[in-house]
Symmetry: C2
Subunit: 327 residues, 2 copies
DNA sequence: CAACAAAGCTAAACCGGTTTAGCTTTGTTG
DNA sequence: CAACAAAGCTAAACCGGTTTAGCTTTGTTG
């Protein structure tokens, strides 16, 4: 920029006005404008966005904090977030938490220090204080997939409770009676609501049995899921269906069902909270709940940009998911 | 920072020296150091990384350009890249190209303007010129998964040709004779090598037939794959195995195999270039090639950091993949 | 106690942009 | 042709850090 100014014998400010498209308000002559633009192209000039950010206080970047981007669900979510952000000329910085609070806190600090214009995050258990800090600093924020009930901020979630109820009701109508539920023991609303949907329906229909609830510790999930599957296989009253509350639990669970020779659907019906691409390639019939991932990602950006633009109305979006069948 | 300096009646520079840990070289007294640190904590001071970046010329951020992060393969790759980068205090900006040159060019421009310290990218067909530009600008670069043969730069790929040969040889030893190959018609080495591995082995064994090659246009893949499957089903000489050169082709292909009632493995054996999480949950036996994704991601960061630190030796890494069986 | 060294800090430039008050110059009006 | 307005540009501050030459002050030495 300095180089352009020197070569044309004009000031840095003028060059900036022309190249940032503010030539009208700065009333620069057409002639000079085209000279500057031509030279900029010749010299292969590109603006230093870091300098621009420092000067304007806007980085045109947003932070996205997810549990684990290698998980198909979050992978897709980040994909749609990134595509939508790109259409508004925003870049996306991604960080994974692996469901770990320490990583979550660190991620938030990093993103704030990098002066992101806003943050979209998947809450981690116990991160309430950290998230309050984001709000105190007036950084636009959208919680996605889950939310902290004690924090007054935007969130986008799906109808976890309702759709879980519907799914369980559907199974009961299809004749299943002894339906188990396998769920992480994480105290996050989105997960507890799924389990609660199951609990409420089972109680209403007089099918409830606490033995049917298998809570899995996230950090030892593989072995705990194996134990749960063995338990359910040995159940004296014959469990006839399993409701898996999330995709990883499902995949691990089905792996062990094969191992212990539990046939789907002959011995056991399965229902998975989440769609898995590979359903198309399995012969195994699965009832699954499909979340509107694309809509979640896009709306997350829309809500965030709303706030970045100064709208401080708080929005709570509950999107509908669908119950579907593979095969 | 200015605030801290004012309150203590000292200069901004001193505060900077203390907080950036350069107090020794600046020889600031222990007493003042602890005062500054205490006040910084009290005021909840965090450094503005943007300002730091502008000043030092280092952003501690790297750009990652992949085809499609919602794809399990790239999702995992980005996951490992991000984790490795995090361990060196680098942040990751992710952009998807969707295999589109225009998006690729735009991604590179955005990342360069954002002054990333380095770029890890999955080449897109025709992007040679753009990548040369990166090199001209002396921005550290690592190509991953694929590479441009005409560009002298770092890359990390797997043994596409060798492992494809081995896989096809294995099938032949198992008794399969008429093995088809389904592959994108994209002119990228990693893909053409897979096909070439098939071609060479088939020719050596006198099993080659050009009718067995199905090249798929990326933009119309769904319908073209459907057509390929129909073709192969109607093949007069009975195709007995299909080698799918990438995971998306595989998933779509198998979907249509079900549709047209081609049973796996009774009517057709399948081999997939890539591991899919959900193999664990399908009964369908699949031969697959597992790429060392974690290693690729980690090495990519290692190579990139090497360069960022000034080592300008060019590295070409070819990692080994493994042939495995599901079920 | 003069001479010098070391300790401890500051002043000021710098990174590469943006922004705006205000200075010249040119044009218009009566 | 004086008075004023408009056009066209510049100067300089600013964003929030980093860096280093060099200025004071204090301590040490003979």
């Amino acid at each position: 920029m300095q180089d352009i100014a020197d070569r044309l014998g004009i000031s840095r400010g003028t060059v900036s006005l022309v190249l940032s498209g503010k030539a009208k308000s700065g009333r620069i002559s057409e002639e000079l404008q085209s000279k500057v633009k031509a030279l900029a192209k010749d010299l292969n000039y590109f603006p230093n966005e870091i300098a621009r950010s420092l000067s304007t206080g806007v980085t045109k970047s947003i932070g996205v904090i997810v549990t684990d981007i290698s998980n198909e669900f979050f992978g897709k979510m980040v994909f749609y977030i990134q595509e939508q952000a790109k259409s508004y000329a925003y870049s996306v910085i991604v960080v994974n938490t692996n469901e770990c609070l320490e990583d979550f806190d660190e991620a938030v600090t990093i993103l704030m220090n990098r002066q992101v214009d806003g943050i979209i995050l998947v809450p981690v258990e116990g991160g309430n204080k950290t998230v309050k800090n984001i709000i105190n600093r007036k950084i636009p924020l959208v919680q996605i997939d889950r939310f902290y009930p004690d924090i007054n901020s935007n969130y986008i979630v799906i109808d976890n409770y309702d759709v879980s109820r519907k799914a369980v009701e559907l199974l009961i109508e299809e004749g299943y009676k002894r339906i188990a539920v396998i769920c992480y023991n994480i105290g996050l609303a989105s997960l507890t609501e799924r389990r609660q949907g199951w609990i409420d329906v089972m109680k209403e229909r007089d099918l409830f049995d606490v033995e049917l609830i298998k809570n899995i510790d996230y950090d030892n999930q593989d072995s705990e899921i194996e134990k749960a599957i063995i338990d359910l296989k040995n159940d004296t009253d014959k469990v006839d269906a399993i409701f898996f509350c999330s995709r990883k639990v499902f995949l691990t669970g089905v792996k062990y069902m094969f191992k212990y020779d539990i046939k789907i659907p002959e011995n056991m019906h399965v229902i998975c909270f989440d769609k898995i691409d590979a359903f198309t390639f399995a012969n195994t019939p699965v009832t699954y709940i499909e979340q509107p991932i694309q809509q979640m990602g896009q709306k997350a950006i829309d809500l965030l940009l709303d706030q970045i633009r100064g709208n401080d109305q708080i929005n709570h979006l509950v999107l509908n998911s669908e119950i579907k069948f593979s095969v």
